[in-house]
Symmetry: C2
Amino acid sequence: MTERSVAQRGRPRSEKARLAILAATTEVLLERGLAGTSMDVVAGRAGVGKATIYRWWPTKEALALEALYHSWAVAVPDEPDTGSLRGDLAALLLPWARRLRTQPYGRIVAAFITEAQTNSEFEKEYHARFVRPRREQARAAIGRAAVRGEIPAGTNVELTLDLLYGPLYHRLLHRHAPLSDRFVTDIVDAVLRAIRPERPAVMVRARGDHNRVRTP
Amino acid sequence: MTERSVAQRGRPRSEKARLAILAATTEVLLERGLAGTSMDVVAGRAGVGKATIYRWWPTKEALALEALYHSWAVAVPDEPDTGSLRGDLAALLLPWARRLRTQPYGRIVAAFITEAQTNSEFEKEYHARFVRPRREQARAAIGRAAVRGEIPAGTNVELTLDLLYGPLYHRLLHRHAPLSDRFVTDIVDAVLRAIRPERPAVMVRARGDHNRVRTP
DNA sequence: CTATTTACGAAACTCATAGTATCGTAACTT
DNA sequence: AAGTTACGATACTATGAGTTTCGTAAATAG
């Protein structure tokens, strides 16, 4: 989408302007939310002309999406394999929850979700950048747990993912209670109890790791 | 907020106009979403002047909130007591999920959630009308189950509520999968497994009702 | 019946902002 | 040096939320 052919003819795109625009956008987004972010303010703060922004991003929403994605692109945990599903899920969800509560990201995410309801191009990008990767990581962790025999082979994976992420988004968006570490681990524990084999083997709770649980 | 003193002096408020405004608003909301709903169109379709709308509602968002609430105010199940937590929760969640999938309510709810992030007056109203009542009903069902001994007395109720509603909102808003009846009952079953006593008594799955489970 | 009060529909208005168009200039390739 | 593309600045268009004005309608008070 922002690709350029190798052999370019005229003046090359200014990388400095590009980064300034992304940084200014994230800044204003965090200060005022998406609706409160005006393109004139972004252009002014980035020290560029509005036309320069619109040459590379079709809409304010597309710019905002890429800006937030860019600002989050630092330090992605990437597939922690702790040996237990509990550890893997905590490793995925805890850092995410921690970042979410450092700044008012909730209203930006809410605005993205709202935009995605009406703008299918935006929806595609939003899912590709913010939703699918996280689900894939959790799906992989669940897959490893199934291979280890830690959970039944027939586990409903899609349901499990929704049970994990649903409550997190719920609190992020409805703000009826904090996204605390405790909340995250409570969700993980609850989901593990829900999908664990019916007749729990000997292993019943150690609150630490549990290795190898055989399902009948 | 729309209250009037008993002894009124001038021309009384037109109930006909009020209902026409609410109906037109819901109609346009469903057709175009909140962002696509213009006050001129609502006024035109309701056959009223814009000033009449703004005399009774402070903003478009406040009007939209009341309009959707009003359109949903018909047929509220109200505290089903089926005798089992599973039955009670299904009775609460299934009709809601069914209504949500009959029309594009998701984008309206998304817009409400987004507005609530920035407008605290709106947030208060949104919670009072759309969030709190449903949570209260589910909380009551969980309370009855605890009294019956169906679930442990120490159950984390807030967590349980988020485990129930979170996944539903998640699919409503992210639209990665349908809000099917099956999904709803799967959530309920999973949550019941999660909060059921550790050492499951004899009762292990009947997919029907299960009455009275004694916790050690 | 008349005066007073409040609501009404219509229409013109203000103001903010997303997105476009124009312009003169800068930075690159051939 | 010529051609091409990007740049910042600025003026512009279009849309829509919310306000104001106006003449009129529906009620109450005396």
